[in-house]
Symmetry: C2
Subunit: 159 residues, 2 copies
DNA sequence: TACTCTGATAAGAATTATTCTTAATAAGGA
DNA sequence: TCCTTATTAAGAATAATTCTTATCAGAGTA
């Protein structure tokens, strides 16, 4: 189950945190402790955490952080393009992996898996896309039942 | 701005409603007045309505319908694969167009446009997708600023 | 047609996710 | 260090969705 780019390796996290620091300086976003920890939490996670999950992680280092700050900061980062947002239900999930990739979303357990395209399988924009507007980012999800849920079929709620 | 498959033509709507009736009979889903009207509302709309919008339409014919029924029914239909769900924010939007197509979602106004792939541009599943699970459906969104918002640039909140 | 079983619905409370308001705080430049 | 102003905490408010329970009605059967 190892993929092309892991989000969880320590070196890589540090590299991204530094990249984020540079980004903030370059765009006159104040580099607050909260922002750093929030970014680090998303970058350190392999599980596409939701705002609440990020909050729980950040809380350990900054017990006084508020959930609102987490939401606000995640939105800011998303607008800035520093992180991405996945999700089709009512719960947003965030992703700090900058490599172009897609997601497999389990309709049963809600788990989100990274899917990295092989060479030659990378998605390109449709030729007529300019008719609609200017694309800022692309979100491709494959939705279905993940293998883990299929094995433990008793838990499968739908289908 | 006319696309390959319009959702709004009367004949097509009737055809889909009938298809839906057959589907219900075949899958022992009770064919209630509410379900019919809810399906018809989604099928008649070109604008990927959210649950609330569907509710407002259905209300005109069935004033006693509840919003909960709309939510429940839309979820059922989605599970059954009769309609699709779009959306990345906190508001789900529904779609009764069975033709394979993608969406352009405006980050500014929230409008959802149908994007129909040209011949030869149709998406195929990545070769390694079976590693993750069994795909039930695919959701591809291009997110950006739509041309209408770009023209009236004063309204553009983000970017 | 009437009967019956059971899934579907209405009503409204409850829950979950997210955003807003306001006063206090702290980052970064002078 | 001081100042300016963006950012934050706290908690209220809002928005979206789901749950609970009693009632109702679809559709198969007699």
């Amino acid at each position: 189950m190892s993929h092309a780019v892991s989000v969880c390796d320590e070196k890589e996290i540090t590299r991204r945190v530094n990249e984020f620091k540079l980004y903030c300086r370059a765009h006159s976003l104040r580099l607050t402790g909260q922002r750093l920890e929030i970014f680090r939490a998303v970058a350190s996670s392999c599980s596409h955490p939701c705002a609440e999950a990020v909050y729980q992680v950040v809380r350990k280092k900054l017990p006084k952080v508020s959930l609102d700050t987490v939401y606000r900061t995640l939105s800011r980062m998303e607008e800035a393009g520093v992180i991405g947002r996945v999700g089709l239900g009512n719960k947003g999930r965030f992703d700090a992996n900058p490599a172009a990739h897609y997601h497999f979303v389990c309709l049963n357990c809600g788990e989100v898996y990274d899917v990295f395209p092989r060479e030659g399988e990378k998605l390109s924009l449709p030729g007529n896309i300019a008719e609609f507007g200017e694309v800022k980012n692309v979100n491709l999800q494959f939705r279905g039942i993940c293998n883990r849920c299929r094995q433990t079929a008793g838990d499968v709620k739908i289908i």
